[in-house]
């Protein structure tokens, strides 16, 4: 069976299992049925919110924050990552800073960002930017530094200047690693956006989920979580497609 078919079958299987547990619980009365929403109930919440346009609004809000925060961080990580390749003092200076900041969970800084930027969009975007910047920068820098020196030598003996070396050798050679770094960044952004939208937000999927808790509506929580998972899958597929186009030369073997 193809990989796609097995995944589809697994999803259907999981859905069936979920329905079985939820409906079974309804029937046997093991726990309060409100706590264990059935797929149908979750679907109903989704329908309601789609009709009112709220779901689209929250979805786009979260997506917008991710796009902006991640976008800024990616540009910075790419620029700095390439620079680290040609500027040894820069590399030596940034490494310890990274080591210092890296062990601290980004979410620990969320309240700081709320203090610094208030409760609006800026704090969420800045937070996502901060969270995704460091891991992406580290990965991109590592990928740049791994570029085989023999490729640099080959290009230089064909007449490459320093700018040529950066543009025509370092960048394409590091591209596979850069794409991986971007994928990690997107994953991380998705991971923390929820947390960022739990506090001090009045829009977004995370807020929707928190609302489900406030109004004691587990079905809304589950729906929000599933939509989030969907967003993640979509972004991941998008990135994989981009990767495949940029790295055609790798598949050609």
């Amino acid at each position: 069976m193809s990989a796609a078919a097995t995944r589809a079958a697994a999803m259907v299987g999981a859905l069936v299992l979920w329905a079985a547990i939820a409906h079974g619980n309804r029937w046997l009365g093991v726990v309060n049925p409100v706590l264990l929403p059935t797929p149908i109930e979750v679907g109903a919440v989704a329908e309601r919110l789609i009709r009112s346009g709220e779901l689209a609004q929250h979805f786009l809000t979260s997506l917008g924050r991710i796009a902006q925060g991640f976008g800024l961080a990616a540009l910075a990580a790419l620029g700095l990552g390439l620079l680290v390749g040609i500027c040894v003092p820069l590399r030596l200076m940034t490494e310890p800073v990274i080591e210092f900041v890296r062990p601290i969970p980004p979410l620990a800084f969320l309240p700081m960002f709320l203090v610094w930027f208030g409760l609006g969009e800026a704090s969420k975007i800045a937070f996502i930017g901060y969270t995704t910047f460091f891991p992406m920068f580290v990965a991109i820098a590592a990928s740049v530094l791994r570029v085989d020196v023999v490729l640099l030598r080959a290009a230089a003996s064909l007449g490459a200047s320093r700018a040529d070396l950066v543009r025509r050798v370092m960048l394409p050679a590091a591209l596979p690693g850069i794409v991986v770094a971007l994928r990690v960044g997107v994953g991380l952004a998705l991971f923390v956006i929820v947390g960022a939208e739990f506090m001090g937000a009045d829009a977004g999927l995370g807020h929707l989920i928190m609302e489900g808790r406030t109004f004691f509506d587990p079905a809304q929580i589950v729906m929000g979580a599933l939509v989030l998972g969907l967003l993640g899958s979509l972004l991941n597929t998008l990135l994989l497609t981009v990767e495949r186009r940029l790295l055609r030369w790798r598949a050609a073997s």
Partner: protein
């Protein structure tokens, strides 16, 4: 351009800090259109010497001149063919071969002519749009040779270019290089550890001592342009050189 030597290596020595002297003083002249092979045991510094001529390393003492001008760094006058091919994996065969001309902003039509000419020379015109990952080792090295030639360098430096290939492909490529040399008449400095290869290709064979390397002996090879590996004269050269090399190999073992 005068009638002086194409490559002048004058009193070149190299030390690597704590690792000690890799190369003791080397003096060598390579005439235009000459193919000189540098031969020696592992660690004798022959690759170091080539890297210095290429401009990838700076000598601790001494200078290298090509066409009378001192070498200060890598430049298109000195094309290099590496043992690991060093083809750019994200470019096609065409992309690789036209890399040098592209850097020099040659117009597209001229670049196409150049690429076609040199791919024909190495017999890979049919594979122009393939990526390096789709090529065999022998084919990759031929692309590398075409790439170096397409840039019309004054000299070509080859660092054990056939070392990563199996014996069969190796001999095929030696034949190829010999044929190409008869057409192009380039000045070539060729590093190898195969005596057979050196005798087959070289106008002169330079045997180096073990580390710190210096020139032990130079063998001019008086054989016809197209060589027979089984001719008695050929095997005579082989055994003469082998004897000299073995002395140095024994020293390394001690």
């Amino acid at each position: 351009m005068t009638g002086g030597p194409k490559i002048q290596i004058q009193r070149v020595a190299k030390s690597f800090g704590a690792a000690g002297r890799a190369l003791a003083e080397v003096d060598l002249d390579v005439a235009e259109r000459e193919l000189v092979c540098i031969l020696g045991p592992s660690g004798c510094g022959k690759s170091t010497l080539l890297n210095i001529v290429a401009g990838f390393l700076t000598p601790t003492t001494g200078t290298v001149r090509v066409d009378g001008r001192a070498v200060t760094g890598p430049a298109p006058e000195r094309g290099v063919v590496f043992q690991e091919y060093a083809l750019f994996p994200w470019l096609t065969v065409t992309g690789n071969v036209e890399f040098g001309p592209l850097l020099q902003s040659r117009p597209a039509a001229e670049r196409k002519r150049t690429v076609d000419r040199y791919l024909d020379l190495v017999g890979l015109r049919a594979h122009a749009d393939k990526f390096p990952a789709q090529l065999s080792g022998g084919m990759k090295q031929r692309v590398a040779i075409a790439r170096a030639l397409a840039n019309e360098p004054a000299v070509i430096l080859m660092d054990e270019p056939f070392g990563a290939l199996d014996a069969q492909t190796r001999e095929t490529l030696q034949d190829e290089l010999s044929r190409i040399q008869r057409v192009e008449h380039k000045t070539i400095l060729f590093v190898t550890h195969s005596i057979r290869e050196a005798v087959y290709l070289a106008d002169r064979v330079v045997v180096m001592t073990s580390a710190p390397g210096r020139i032990k002996q130079v063998f001019p090879i008086k054989l016809p342009e197209v060589r027979d590996r089984f001719a008695p004269e050929f095997t005579q050269y082989e055994s003469d050189i082998t004897r000299v090399v073995k002395e140095e190999v024994a020293k390394v073992r001690e």
